[in-house]
């Protein structure tokens, strides 16, 4: 991969830092008047999702990371890996380990499209679309007539995820969930 100098650092650039692929979030030039210039950089470690802050001397270089995002359809889980298939016509299949899928496993639905991040050809991260529709498999019986205000109750979805839902929701209903907050949005329109 190419090397990138600090003046090429910009949001979205993928670089290697301490052996891990990272995505640059922010790069701010800091320079005391007559002194050394630094780049103060925020990076997201694409393996752990954690945000790092790191300062580089201007002109320092980092190796680019072979990282690409692909749209892929979720196929199935085999207990160890989660299997995805590229939707670019290649039908290429990729097995993502639990660490790569992380919290997104709460929102996995077969035949739904997800963004899979490949690092050197292997999945390291999977992100869900902003909204998914999932079926309720377990919740307390719904309260008739309670369609407006009132409290919430826990409901479990096919994926095993728990969301807080209004009291009128019943088992078997399909719900629209905001995957960014993990919150119930509405009943899915049939």
């Amino acid at each position: 991969m190419a090397n990138y100098s600090t003046n090429e650092f910009k949001s979205g650039l993928k670089v290697m830092l301490e052996g891990d692929p990272c995505s640059i979030l922010e790069n701010e030039l800091v320079k005391p008047g007559k002194g050394q210039a630094f780049s103060r950089v925020k990076l997201r470690n694409l393996k752990t999702g954690r945000v790092w802050e790191r300062t580089f001397k201007s002109g320092e270089k980092l190796e680019g990371a072979d990282v690409m995002d692909y749209d892929m359809e979720y196929l199935y889980a085999d207990g160890e890996f989660f299997h995805f298939m590229a939707t670019d016509g290649s039908f290429e299949q990729y097995a993502a380990p639990v660490e790569a899928v992380a919290d997104t496993k709460n929102w996995l639905k077969e035949q739904e499209a997800y963004e899979v991040t490949l690092f050197n050809g292997a999945p390291i991260a999977v992100s869900a679309p902003n909204f998914v529709e999932l079926e309720v498999v377990e919740t307390d019986p719904g309260l008739k007539g309670d369609t407006a205000q009132g409290g919430t109750k826990p409901a479990f979805l096919t994926t095993g995820a728990m969301v807080r839902v209004p009291l009128f929701i019943n088992i078997g209903e399909v719900l629209r969930i905001d995957t960014r907050t993990g919150e119930y949005v509405s009943r899915a329109k049939v």
């Binding site: 701010e28 800091v30 002194g35 790191r54």
Partner: protein
């Protein structure tokens, strides 16, 4: 849409008013407005500044990083007190507080010591920004107070340890460590809405300021910086007038420079002729305007920032 200005029209009006304010300030004090060439045959000596190279009449030349050398030539030629509002150019400086081309006010006062100059800068900037609170710290006091570290006594290993959380395994030299700590630790902790003058820099960071030895045998520079709300606004010197010392510093800077830069012979000749005893200061006008208008990004005070230039 990049054809449109990055500043709104009211901001440009405020900029014009600011320029008028500065010109009034100096007219009252009988300081002469001058213009000097933006394009110079010699490049700046400062290893931390990257000049933009150009070609004119088949000759290599550079856009100025500051008007310091030609203004000092005017002083040596007997101009008396002078000021200039001009554009300066510094390659690779781009960010929320930096644009590769920016506006500078630079001025020189004959027979002013650094304290007198600081007082005048406090008036110029303080009146404009309506900030009267002022704090004068030495470089050492600023580090002890805000970084709990003595910049003169700390060992190289201690400094390296303090910068490690920011830079990881990267090794920095002593001045680089101090530059990192002042920008990452001291600056963000300075009191708000206060004119903070930091002075008595280590001699290694003297640039074109005079140096002297204090009671505890530290070599210090007659130099100050002005910070307001974490923004560095001004850099002032009791100007070095000794030509042989100036030549030594040029040689030292050139040794640290990646690209070869020839010393500005016209400037050295002017010093040899005799620079009157004076103090001078350079102020970043765009940043002062940012503070006045409470804007966070320098592009918001520029008619067209570099992305639209």
């Amino acid at each position: 849409m990049l054809w449109q200005p990055s500043a709104d029209i009211n901001t440009l009006r405020a900029r014009a008013d600011f320029n008028a304010y500065i010109r009034d300030f100096f007219r009252l004090r009988d300081v002469l407005e001058v213009e000097t060439p933006l394009l110079s045959r010699a490049a700046v000596s400062d290893a931390n500044l990257l000049p933009l190279a150009a070609t004119c009449l088949s000759k290599a030349c550079y856009l100025q990083t500051s008007p310091e050398y030609p203004m000092k030539r005017l002083l040596a030629a007997g101009s008396g007190d002078i000021y200039q509002i001009c554009k300066v150019f510094r390659d690779e400086e781009l960010g929320k507080r930096h644009n590769p081309e920016f506006s500078m006010l630079e001025y020189y006062r004959l027979h002013f010591d650094l304290q007198t100059l600081k007082d005048e800068v406090a008036q110029l900037v303080g009146d404009y920004l309506n900030i009267q609170r002022r704090l004068d710290l030495s470089y050492r006091q600023a580090f002890i107070k805000y970084a709990r570290l003595d910049p003169f006594l700390a060992t190289d290993d201690e400094l390296q340890m303090r910068v490690q959380p920011f830079v990881g395994a990267l090794q920095l030299n002593r001045d680089e460590c101090l530059d990192l700590l002042i920008s990452h630790v001291v600056e963000p902790n300075l009191p708000k809405d206060t004119l903070v003058f930091i002075g008595q820099y280590p001699a290694s960071q003297a640039a074109l300021a005079q140096t002297y030895e204090n009671d505890s045998a530290d070599m210090l520079a007659q130099r100050f910086e002005l910070y307001v709300n974490g923004l560095e606004l001004a850099n002032g010197y009791q100007e070095l007038t000794d030509v042989s010392e100036q030549k030594r510093r040029f040689a030292k800077e050139q040794a640290q420079c990646a690209q070869a830069r020839c010393a500005d012979e016209h400037f050295l000749q002017a010093l040899a002729h005799g620079l009157p005893d004076c103090s001078g200061v350079a102020l970043g006008l765009d940043r002062i305007l940012m503070l006045k208008l409470q804007l966070k990004d320098i592009s918001e005070v520029l008619s067209f920032d570099f992305a639209r230039a």
